[in-house]
Amino acid sequence: MWGENLINNYEELNDMHIDVLREIGNIGAGNAASALAMILNEEVSISLPRVQITDFNTAVNALGGAETMTVGVLVNLSGEAQGMIMLLLNMEDAAAILSMLLQDKDEEKNATLSELELSAIMEIGNILSSSYINSISTLTGLSINISVPYIAIDMAGALMSVPIIEFGSIGEKVMFIEECFSAEENKLASNIIMFAEIDTLEVIMTRLGIEI
Protein backbone atom coordinates (compact mmCIF):
# COMPACT_ATOMS: atom_id res chain seq x y z
CA MET A 1 0.00 0.00 0.00
CA TRP A 2 2.79 2.40 0.95
CA GLY A 3 5.34 0.72 -1.22
CA GLU A 4 8.16 -1.05 0.47
CA ASN A 5 8.03 -0.80 4.23
CA LEU A 6 11.00 0.93 5.72
CA ILE A 7 10.13 -0.11 9.22
CA ASN A 8 8.93 -3.69 9.37
CA ASN A 9 8.29 -4.08 13.04
CA TYR A 10 8.26 -2.05 16.22
CA GLU A 11 11.69 -3.25 17.27
CA GLU A 12 13.21 -1.27 14.41
CA LEU A 13 12.09 2.10 15.76
CA ASN A 14 15.14 4.15 16.69
CA ASP A 15 15.64 6.72 19.46
CA MET A 16 14.62 9.61 17.25
CA HIS A 17 11.37 7.88 16.29
CA ILE A 18 10.68 7.20 19.95
CA ASP A 19 11.26 10.88 20.79
CA VAL A 20 8.74 11.86 18.14
CA LEU A 21 6.20 9.36 19.47
CA ARG A 22 6.73 10.65 22.99
CA GLU A 23 6.04 14.18 21.77
CA ILE A 24 2.91 13.00 19.97
CA GLY A 25 1.74 11.37 23.17
CA ASN A 26 2.52 14.54 25.06
CA ILE A 27 0.47 16.71 22.72
CA GLY A 28 -2.40 14.23 22.46
CA ALA A 29 -2.64 13.56 26.17
CA GLY A 30 -2.16 17.25 26.99
CA ASN A 31 -5.19 18.06 24.94
CA ALA A 32 -7.14 15.19 26.46
CA ALA A 33 -6.17 16.34 29.96
CA SER A 34 -7.60 19.81 29.28
CA ALA A 35 -10.83 18.19 28.17
CA LEU A 36 -10.93 16.05 31.31
CA ALA A 37 -10.22 19.09 33.48
CA MET A 38 -13.24 20.81 31.98
CA ILE A 39 -15.49 17.82 32.54
CA LEU A 40 -14.37 17.33 36.13
CA ASN A 41 -13.99 21.04 36.80
CA GLU A 42 -10.65 20.58 38.49
CA GLU A 43 -6.99 20.60 37.61
CA VAL A 44 -5.74 17.49 35.84
CA SER A 45 -2.06 16.75 35.42
CA ILE A 46 -0.44 14.23 33.11
CA SER A 47 2.65 12.16 33.59
CA LEU A 48 5.51 12.19 31.12
CA PRO A 49 4.50 9.97 28.24
CA ARG A 50 6.13 6.58 28.09
CA VAL A 51 6.75 4.90 24.75
CA GLN A 52 6.80 1.21 25.40
CA ILE A 53 8.11 -1.34 22.96
CA THR A 54 7.63 -4.58 24.81
CA ASP A 55 6.85 -8.22 24.36
CA PHE A 56 3.22 -9.26 24.74
CA ASN A 57 3.45 -10.48 28.32
CA THR A 58 5.09 -7.30 29.58
CA ALA A 59 2.42 -5.27 27.77
CA VAL A 60 -0.35 -7.27 29.45
CA ASN A 61 1.12 -6.61 32.86
CA ALA A 62 2.24 -3.04 32.14
CA LEU A 63 -0.76 -1.45 33.79
CA GLY A 64 -1.17 -3.63 36.84
CA GLY A 65 -1.90 -7.28 37.40
CA ALA A 66 -3.37 -9.30 34.53
CA GLU A 67 -6.38 -10.32 36.61
CA THR A 68 -7.18 -6.92 38.14
CA MET A 69 -10.71 -5.76 37.50
CA THR A 70 -10.46 -2.73 35.22
CA VAL A 71 -12.79 -0.48 33.25
CA GLY A 72 -11.66 -0.11 29.64
CA VAL A 73 -12.99 2.19 26.95
CA LEU A 74 -11.71 1.44 23.47
CA VAL A 75 -11.97 3.46 20.27
CA ASN A 76 -10.73 2.33 16.93
CA LEU A 77 -8.86 4.68 14.59
CA SER A 78 -9.28 4.48 10.85
CA GLY A 79 -8.81 6.62 7.77
CA GLU A 80 -5.25 7.81 7.23
CA ALA A 81 -4.12 6.37 10.56
CA GLN A 82 -4.84 2.88 11.87
CA GLY A 83 -4.74 2.34 15.57
CA MET A 84 -6.59 2.14 18.85
CA ILE A 85 -6.90 4.28 21.92
CA MET A 86 -7.80 2.73 25.23
CA LEU A 87 -8.67 4.47 28.46
CA LEU A 88 -8.15 2.30 31.53
CA LEU A 89 -9.50 3.04 35.00
CA ASN A 90 -9.57 0.98 38.11
CA MET A 91 -12.97 0.46 39.71
CA GLU A 92 -12.41 2.99 42.51
CA ASP A 93 -11.45 5.74 40.07
CA ALA A 94 -14.37 4.95 37.80
CA ALA A 95 -16.68 5.22 40.80
CA ALA A 96 -15.06 8.52 41.89
CA ILE A 97 -15.42 10.06 38.42
CA LEU A 98 -19.04 8.96 38.32
CA SER A 99 -19.82 10.48 41.67
CA MET A 100 -18.37 13.78 40.45
CA LEU A 101 -20.20 13.65 37.13
CA LEU A 102 -23.53 12.35 38.23
CA GLN A 103 -23.52 14.05 41.63
CA ASP A 104 -24.14 10.64 43.02
CA LYS A 105 -23.78 10.50 46.79
CA ASP A 106 -23.88 6.74 46.88
CA GLU A 107 -20.50 5.86 48.34
CA GLU A 108 -21.01 2.15 48.08
CA LYS A 109 -18.51 0.72 45.66
CA ASN A 110 -20.27 -1.74 43.49
CA ALA A 111 -18.67 -4.32 41.23
CA THR A 112 -21.22 -3.53 38.57
CA LEU A 113 -22.11 -0.25 36.93
CA SER A 114 -25.57 0.76 35.76
CA GLU A 115 -26.31 1.50 32.10
CA LEU A 116 -26.26 5.21 32.86
CA GLU A 117 -22.87 4.93 34.56
CA LEU A 118 -21.50 2.87 31.69
CA SER A 119 -22.58 5.52 29.17
CA ALA A 120 -21.04 8.26 31.28
CA ILE A 121 -17.67 6.48 31.37
CA MET A 122 -17.94 5.69 27.66
CA GLU A 123 -18.60 9.35 26.94
CA ILE A 124 -15.50 10.36 28.88
CA GLY A 125 -13.47 7.86 26.86
CA ASN A 126 -15.00 9.34 23.73
CA ILE A 127 -14.16 12.93 24.63
CA LEU A 128 -10.61 12.11 25.72
CA SER A 129 -9.84 10.06 22.60
CA SER A 130 -11.34 12.70 20.33
CA SER A 131 -9.25 15.46 21.84
CA TYR A 132 -6.16 13.24 21.73
CA ILE A 133 -6.70 12.44 18.05
CA ASN A 134 -7.73 15.97 17.07
CA SER A 135 -4.39 17.29 18.18
CA ILE A 136 -2.53 14.59 16.25
CA SER A 137 -4.66 15.35 13.19
CA THR A 138 -3.85 19.03 13.44
CA LEU A 139 -0.17 18.32 13.92
CA THR A 140 0.19 15.91 11.01
CA GLY A 141 -2.60 16.97 8.67
CA LEU A 142 -3.83 13.37 8.62
CA SER A 143 -7.53 12.72 8.44
CA ILE A 144 -8.30 10.24 11.21
CA ASN A 145 -11.74 8.78 11.93
CA ILE A 146 -12.59 7.49 15.34
CA SER A 147 -15.19 4.81 16.04
CA VAL A 148 -17.91 5.01 18.65
CA PRO A 149 -16.50 4.07 22.08
CA TYR A 150 -16.71 0.45 23.26
CA ILE A 151 -16.66 -0.41 26.94
CA ALA A 152 -15.77 -3.49 28.97
CA ILE A 153 -15.18 -4.17 32.65
CA ASP A 154 -12.93 -7.16 33.11
CA MET A 155 -9.42 -8.43 33.80
CA ALA A 156 -6.83 -5.86 32.71
CA GLY A 157 -4.93 -8.54 30.79
CA ALA A 158 -8.00 -9.65 28.87
CA LEU A 159 -8.74 -6.03 27.88
CA MET A 160 -5.14 -5.40 26.82
CA SER A 161 -5.18 -8.57 24.74
CA VAL A 162 -7.52 -6.86 22.27
CA PRO A 163 -5.02 -4.28 20.95
CA ILE A 164 -2.16 -6.75 21.41
CA ILE A 165 -3.87 -9.22 19.07
CA GLU A 166 -4.62 -6.42 16.63
CA PHE A 167 -1.10 -5.00 16.50
CA GLY A 168 0.99 -8.00 17.48
CA SER A 169 0.30 -10.16 14.44
CA ILE A 170 3.72 -9.49 12.97
CA GLY A 171 6.77 -9.65 15.19
CA GLU A 172 6.98 -10.41 18.88
CA LYS A 173 6.58 -6.91 20.26
CA VAL A 174 3.98 -4.19 20.41
CA MET A 175 4.43 -0.44 20.76
CA PHE A 176 2.20 1.80 22.78
CA ILE A 177 2.33 5.33 24.12
CA GLU A 178 1.08 5.59 27.66
CA GLU A 179 0.26 8.46 29.99
CA CYS A 180 -1.32 8.66 33.36
CA PHE A 181 -3.83 11.40 34.22
CA SER A 182 -4.24 12.47 37.77
CA ALA A 183 -6.65 14.84 39.42
CA GLU A 184 -5.15 15.89 42.73
CA GLU A 185 -8.23 16.92 44.60
CA ASN A 186 -10.01 13.65 44.12
CA LYS A 187 -6.89 11.48 43.95
CA LEU A 188 -7.93 10.08 40.61
CA ALA A 189 -5.65 8.25 38.27
CA SER A 190 -6.28 6.73 34.88
CA ASN A 191 -4.24 5.63 31.92
CA ILE A 192 -4.65 6.48 28.29
CA ILE A 193 -2.77 4.36 25.81
CA MET A 194 -2.44 4.56 22.07
CA PHE A 195 -1.49 1.75 19.72
CA ALA A 196 -0.78 2.41 16.07
CA GLU A 197 0.01 0.26 13.08
CA ILE A 198 3.56 0.30 11.89
CA ASP A 199 2.51 1.79 8.52
CA THR A 200 0.75 4.59 10.37
CA LEU A 201 3.91 5.38 12.32
CA GLU A 202 5.78 5.66 9.05
CA VAL A 203 3.16 8.03 7.65
CA ILE A 204 3.25 10.18 10.79
CA MET A 205 7.06 10.39 10.69
CA THR A 206 6.99 11.31 7.01
CA ARG A 207 4.39 14.00 7.60
CA LEU A 208 6.50 15.49 10.31
CA GLY A 209 9.52 15.51 8.03
CA ILE A 210 11.41 12.89 10.00
CA GLU A 211 13.72 10.64 8.06
CA ILE A 212 12.87 7.02 8.54
Partner: protein
Protein backbone atom coordinates in the same frame (compact mmCIF):
# COMPACT_ATOMS: atom_id res chain seq x y z
CA UNK B 1 -1.23 -26.15 45.74
CA UNK B 2 1.21 -27.99 43.53
CA UNK B 3 3.87 -26.11 41.70
CA UNK B 4 2.41 -23.68 39.14
CA UNK B 5 3.77 -23.49 35.64
CA UNK B 6 2.78 -20.19 34.04
CA UNK B 7 2.08 -19.89 30.33
CA UNK B 8 2.32 -16.45 28.69
CA UNK B 9 0.69 -15.18 25.50
CA UNK B 10 1.88 -16.99 22.38
CA UNK B 11 3.43 -19.68 24.48
CA UNK B 12 2.78 -23.23 25.65
CA UNK B 13 4.07 -25.36 28.49
CA UNK B 14 3.90 -29.07 29.12
CA UNK B 15 4.59 -31.18 32.19
CA UNK B 16 3.56 -34.29 34.10
CA UNK B 17 1.63 -34.68 37.37
CA UNK B 18 1.51 -33.33 40.04
CA UNK B 19 2.11 -30.00 38.36
CA UNK B 20 -0.59 -27.46 37.55
CA UNK B 21 -0.29 -25.31 34.44
CA UNK B 22 -1.96 -21.90 34.37
CA UNK B 23 -2.52 -19.09 31.90
CA UNK B 24 -3.95 -15.75 33.07
CA UNK B 25 -6.57 -13.44 31.63
CA UNK B 26 -7.47 -15.00 28.30
CA UNK B 27 -9.57 -12.47 26.41
CA UNK B 28 -10.04 -13.19 22.73
CA UNK B 29 -7.09 -15.56 22.93
CA UNK B 30 -7.81 -19.28 23.27
CA UNK B 31 -6.38 -21.69 25.81
CA UNK B 32 -6.04 -25.28 24.62
CA UNK B 33 -5.44 -28.02 27.23
CA UNK B 34 -4.23 -31.41 26.02
CA UNK B 35 -4.05 -34.36 28.40
CA UNK B 36 -3.22 -38.05 28.49
CA UNK B 37 -4.90 -39.55 31.56
CA UNK B 38 -2.67 -42.66 31.76
CA UNK B 39 0.73 -41.00 31.83
CA UNK B 40 -0.79 -37.82 33.38
CA UNK B 41 1.20 -35.74 30.94
CA UNK B 42 -0.46 -32.61 29.60
CA UNK B 43 0.09 -29.21 28.10
CA UNK B 44 -1.57 -25.82 27.87
CA UNK B 45 -1.25 -23.49 24.93
CA UNK B 46 -2.19 -19.77 24.94
CA UNK B 47 -3.04 -19.00 21.33
CA UNK B 48 -3.30 -15.44 20.01
CA UNK B 49 -4.28 -15.79 16.36
CA UNK B 50 -6.11 -18.38 14.28
CA UNK B 51 -3.89 -19.14 11.34
CA UNK B 52 -0.17 -18.93 10.63
CA UNK B 53 -0.91 -18.70 6.90
CA UNK B 54 -2.41 -15.23 7.36
CA UNK B 55 1.07 -13.72 7.41
CA UNK B 56 4.30 -14.25 5.52
CA UNK B 57 6.30 -16.86 7.42
CA UNK B 58 9.99 -16.71 8.09
CA UNK B 59 12.46 -18.28 10.47
CA UNK B 60 11.46 -15.74 13.15
CA UNK B 61 7.78 -16.67 13.11
CA UNK B 62 6.67 -17.71 16.58
CA UNK B 63 4.71 -20.89 15.87
CA UNK B 64 3.21 -20.79 19.35
CA UNK B 65 1.22 -17.68 18.42
CA UNK B 66 -1.10 -19.43 15.96
CA UNK B 67 -3.72 -22.12 16.54
CA UNK B 68 -2.67 -24.35 13.66
CA UNK B 69 1.06 -24.47 14.41
CA UNK B 70 0.88 -24.23 18.22
CA UNK B 71 -1.38 -27.25 18.58
CA UNK B 72 0.67 -29.38 16.15
CA UNK B 73 3.89 -28.53 18.00
CA UNK B 74 2.39 -29.11 21.44
CA UNK B 75 1.17 -32.57 20.38
CA UNK B 76 4.63 -33.42 19.04
CA UNK B 77 6.30 -32.30 22.28
CA UNK B 78 3.79 -34.17 24.45
CA UNK B 79 4.50 -37.37 22.55
CA UNK B 80 8.23 -36.74 22.95
CA UNK B 81 7.68 -36.44 26.71
CA UNK B 82 5.94 -39.81 26.73
CA UNK B 83 2.24 -39.10 26.23
CA UNK B 84 0.26 -41.42 24.00
CA UNK B 85 -0.81 -39.62 20.87
CA UNK B 86 -4.07 -41.57 20.65
CA UNK B 87 -5.12 -41.01 24.26
CA UNK B 88 -4.84 -37.22 24.07
CA UNK B 89 -8.05 -35.32 24.73
CA UNK B 90 -8.61 -31.58 24.54
CA UNK B 91 -10.40 -28.99 26.64
CA UNK B 92 -10.59 -25.45 25.37
CA UNK B 93 -11.50 -22.07 26.87
CA UNK B 94 -11.41 -18.40 25.91
CA UNK B 95 -12.17 -16.77 22.57
CA UNK B 96 -14.37 -14.07 24.10
CA UNK B 97 -15.43 -10.85 22.50
CA UNK B 98 -14.26 -8.42 25.16
CA UNK B 99 -15.84 -5.23 23.83
CA UNK B 100 -19.39 -4.83 22.65
CA UNK B 101 -18.75 -3.67 19.11
CA UNK B 102 -20.99 -3.00 16.16
CA UNK B 103 -21.85 -6.00 14.04
CA UNK B 104 -19.31 -6.64 11.32
CA UNK B 105 -16.46 -4.99 13.20
CA UNK B 106 -13.28 -7.00 12.67
CA UNK B 107 -12.27 -6.48 16.33
CA UNK B 108 -15.32 -8.43 17.37
CA UNK B 109 -14.74 -11.64 15.50
CA UNK B 110 -11.18 -12.61 16.41
CA UNK B 111 -12.24 -14.68 19.44
CA UNK B 112 -14.65 -16.73 17.35
CA UNK B 113 -12.05 -17.24 14.67
CA UNK B 114 -9.51 -18.42 17.23
CA UNK B 115 -11.98 -20.96 18.63
CA UNK B 116 -12.97 -22.10 15.16
CA UNK B 117 -9.36 -22.63 14.13
CA UNK B 118 -8.49 -24.48 17.36
CA UNK B 119 -11.43 -26.85 16.80
CA UNK B 120 -10.47 -27.38 13.18
CA UNK B 121 -6.84 -28.15 14.01
CA UNK B 122 -7.82 -30.58 16.79
CA UNK B 123 -10.31 -32.28 14.52
CA UNK B 124 -7.70 -32.71 11.78
CA UNK B 125 -5.43 -34.35 14.39
CA UNK B 126 -8.30 -36.58 15.59
CA UNK B 127 -8.11 -35.22 19.11
CA UNK B 128 -11.58 -35.06 20.69
CA UNK B 129 -12.68 -31.90 22.52
CA UNK B 130 -14.31 -33.19 25.68
CA UNK B 131 -15.02 -29.87 27.36
CA UNK B 132 -15.33 -26.32 26.15
CA UNK B 133 -15.97 -22.92 27.74
CA UNK B 134 -15.62 -20.41 24.94
CA UNK B 135 -17.16 -17.26 23.53
CA UNK B 136 -19.29 -14.73 25.41
CA UNK B 137 -17.76 -11.45 26.61
CA UNK B 138 -15.54 -12.05 29.65
CA UNK B 139 -11.92 -12.82 30.43
CA UNK B 140 -10.87 -16.22 31.75
CA UNK B 141 -7.93 -17.61 33.70
CA UNK B 142 -7.38 -21.31 33.01
CA UNK B 143 -5.69 -23.92 35.21
CA UNK B 144 -4.91 -27.44 33.98
CA UNK B 145 -4.43 -29.85 36.86
CA UNK B 146 -2.21 -32.70 35.65
CA UNK B 147 -3.21 -35.01 38.49
CA UNK B 148 -6.81 -35.16 37.27
CA UNK B 149 -6.89 -33.49 33.86
CA UNK B 150 -9.41 -31.00 35.22
CA UNK B 151 -9.59 -27.62 33.55
CA UNK B 152 -10.53 -24.91 36.02
CA UNK B 153 -11.87 -21.67 34.55
CA UNK B 154 -11.96 -18.51 36.67
CA UNK B 155 -13.63 -15.24 35.70
CA UNK B 156 -14.39 -12.05 37.56
CA UNK B 157 -18.06 -12.03 36.70
CA UNK B 158 -18.92 -15.69 37.13
CA UNK B 159 -18.32 -18.49 39.59
CA UNK B 160 -15.45 -20.92 39.03
CA UNK B 161 -16.10 -23.76 36.60
CA UNK B 162 -14.35 -27.13 36.81
CA UNK B 163 -14.46 -28.97 33.51
Amino acid sequence: MSELLVVGISDYKLARHPKVIVTYALGSCVGVCLYDNQTKIGGLSHIMLPDSNMFPKNEHTNRMKFADTAIQDLVRDLVKMGANRFRLVAKIAGGAQMFRTQPGSPIGSIGDRNVFSARKTLSALNIPIIAEDTGSNFGRTVYLNLETGTMRVQSLSRSVREL
